[in-house]
Symmetry: C2
Subunit: 193 residues, 2 copies
């Protein structure tokens, strides 16, 4: 079975749509982790983005770390984990930007050391979810501050009924979402294709 | 080069002892991540703990996730990421215990869903650092609440001058630390062997 099919079957058999916005996948993605599936996911991202002269994989702690680790290994690239700080830190070597999570109604300071985002490099962002795109645009903001460029985005599960995908494509990025959820409710989950 | 040697060389060439207690390894372990090294680390843990009839790998977000993912993949086991919550949550399906970090002077509620720690299972804890052992004993506490047992602990970097290792061995656990730091200061880092 190909990785996208494996992922969709895991979402259908183990995922749980709490309501039209919240998809619970903590039995295989972000609490209990099916690492074989995450390796397949990483290999799929590596296959899609190979040949795009990417220098570095980046992700946001902590649910993106497992798929991003396998992607970075398959591509032979370093990984940078961007941190979620609860407050602004004034230190010259740190880059920060505020990210609002609409799903959770919270905000955090996305944080990375400047030295780990060398100017001129091309970055591939790997994350577990894409919804409004706020977190991804936070990463784009830090990259811009560092003088490097996010050229691709690999997403494990996309809420295709939210604007994130279109916003990133309009910004010129190559967006590869392995599972695109068209709609969901307690009755079930439907994919785009 | 074997994984332990690779790790020690990374610590010596890229690590930075801020003082006698704080070792900065964010250039290859917990911010920028050398995933090839983390895979070697995971393979080394798998080699050490294979044949011990372990059912599940557990770790604590977020620095343990990369080495624990590679360990779980190499052992063919599921991974459970225990969460750091800032406050107690009253929900019947959640297990919690308070963990104090002496290094950082902070505390958090180590949290896991009971369903992801099935009673009777044997657990292998993988973490990036071992110092006082407080985090590891937090994991032991959650495991006990769940009716399962931590039988092994795999540590990337141990501060051997702190009591964590001895406390865990006295509790009957098999502790495998890949790099054991005997002492450190701005002048340099020394290993136990």
């Amino acid at each position: 079975m190909n990785p996208m099919q494996m992922l969709k079957e895991a979402i259908l058999s183990k995922g749980k749509a709490i309501n039209q916005d919240v998809l619970l996948v903590d039995s295989f993605l972000n609490h209990q982790v099916d690492v074989s599936l995450m390796k397949a996911v990483g290999d799929a991202f590596a296959a899609h983005f190979s040949g795009q002269s990417i220098d570095r994989v980046v992700t946001i702690e902590s649910s993106g770390i497992a798929p991003a680790s396998f992607t970075a290994l398959a591509m032979g690239l370093p990984l940078v984990i961007m941190k979620k700080q609860t407050s602004k830190i004034l230190k010259g070597d740190l880059l920060q930007t505020t990210v609002r999570s609409f799903t959770k109604g919270t905000e955090y300071e996305l944080t990375a050391k400047r030295e780990f985002l060398p100017a001129g490099e091309k970055l591939l962002l790997i994350d577990d979810f894409l919804a409004s795109g706020e977190a991804a645009f936070g990463v784009l903001n830090l990259a811009q501050q560092a003088g490097c460029e996010v050229t691709g985005v690999g997403i494990v599960i996309e809420k295709a009924f939210q604007p994130g995908h279109d916003r990133l494509v309009r910004a010129g990025l190559d967006v590869c979402s392995l599972a695109r959820v068209k709609s969901m409710s307690e009755k079930g989950i439907e994919f785009v294709d």
